[in-house]
Symmetry: C2
Subunit: 158 residues, 2 copies
DNA sequence: TTGCAAAGTTAGGTGCGGCTAACTATATTA
DNA sequence: TAATATAGTTAGCCGCACCTAACTTTGCAA
């Protein structure tokens, strides 16, 4: 109970549903053309994807109409967005990666990592920021470590 | 100089090249059937992939013959394997994820993350194990944090 | 050596995810 | 309201990555 049945989504359909979710949160409604622009695909590809999402019960879509997500779709989208945000935060705040690269990597990795790993990453972000509050700044510590790493344990090039 | 031109490989071909690399390191030579077993694909799919890898100059392949990698192929494979190992280590040693899940996640994520992020992850692993040598055990610290996390900053469910 | 099982290939098919070009519907505006 | 620009769809195509079934090659045992 409380556990809705998971719908298997391809990486591509995850991208579409995520784009729709974001567009709806920006302008109440998603238009086909905007989705195409976000994802850098043709308008006709969007039409095809929308039909699939409708078939799976994830998107409210009628030809020539605006697009929104169903409750199930919103749930699925929220999960993907959550993964995305956690990954981006992790890359930025923990690893100190530059923002746009973090964004980019998050986009690609969000389809590959399951909930367990994502949960751990979130925990790690919290762990690091908790550590930031006392005198010991873990993130800074790592930055310093990167700038001046201890010598390698010898051996040939790796 | 020193910088060989990168060959773009699909996730699927990366899997094949990685499997061949590992098989060669286990038994000097890779056979089509073994590759198929490792990757859970049919023998005919392997034939197709081998032709592609040969075309790209990555595998030494003649019909009905054994399979090895070219120098370029070995280089490409080594990079993928490196990504795999770093990811697996990170999931296990830093995040404390169970070994087989770490292995699994590494398989999927290795195709999605670029060298910059991978390098940072490696640095982070080193950072954590360096921290393990003094009295302060970062990995243990995180484990404890996971078992007994501080209360959330209030607010509605997230 | 023949003769058969196992390994490998070929032929042909599927689904996905993308594309362009041409068409249709909708919106705008003169 | 009629003309046109823009948005969306359809038709038809391509490449990738897989599959099964049937065929060929190879290697091993009788």
């Amino acid at each position: 109970m409380g556990k809705a049945k998971r719908i298997e989504l391809s990486a591509s359909l995850e991208d579409y549903i995520e784009a729709i979710f974001n567009l709806v949160h920006e302008s109440k409604v998603a238009r086909s053309k905007e989705i195409a622009q976000r994802l850098n695909v043709s308008r006709s590809s969007v039409t095809g994807a929308l039909r699939l999402l409708k078939d799976k019960g994830l998107a409210n879509y009628e030809p020539y109409g605006y697009v929104t997500l169903t409750d199930t779709g919103r749930l699925a989208a929220a999960e993907i967005v959550k993964k995305h945000n956690i990954l981006k935060s992790f890359f930025e705040k923990v690893l100190g990666v530059e923002s746009s690269l973090a964004q980019d990597a998050a986009c690609r990795a969000e389809h590959a990592l399951g909930t367990e790993i994502i949960a751990r990453l979130l925990a790690y972000i919290r762990f690091v920021s908790a550590n930031n509050k006392n005198g010991y700044h873990l993130a800074d510590e790592f930055r310093r470590f990167c700038e001046n790493p201890p010598p390698e344990p010898a051996g040939p090039r790796n």
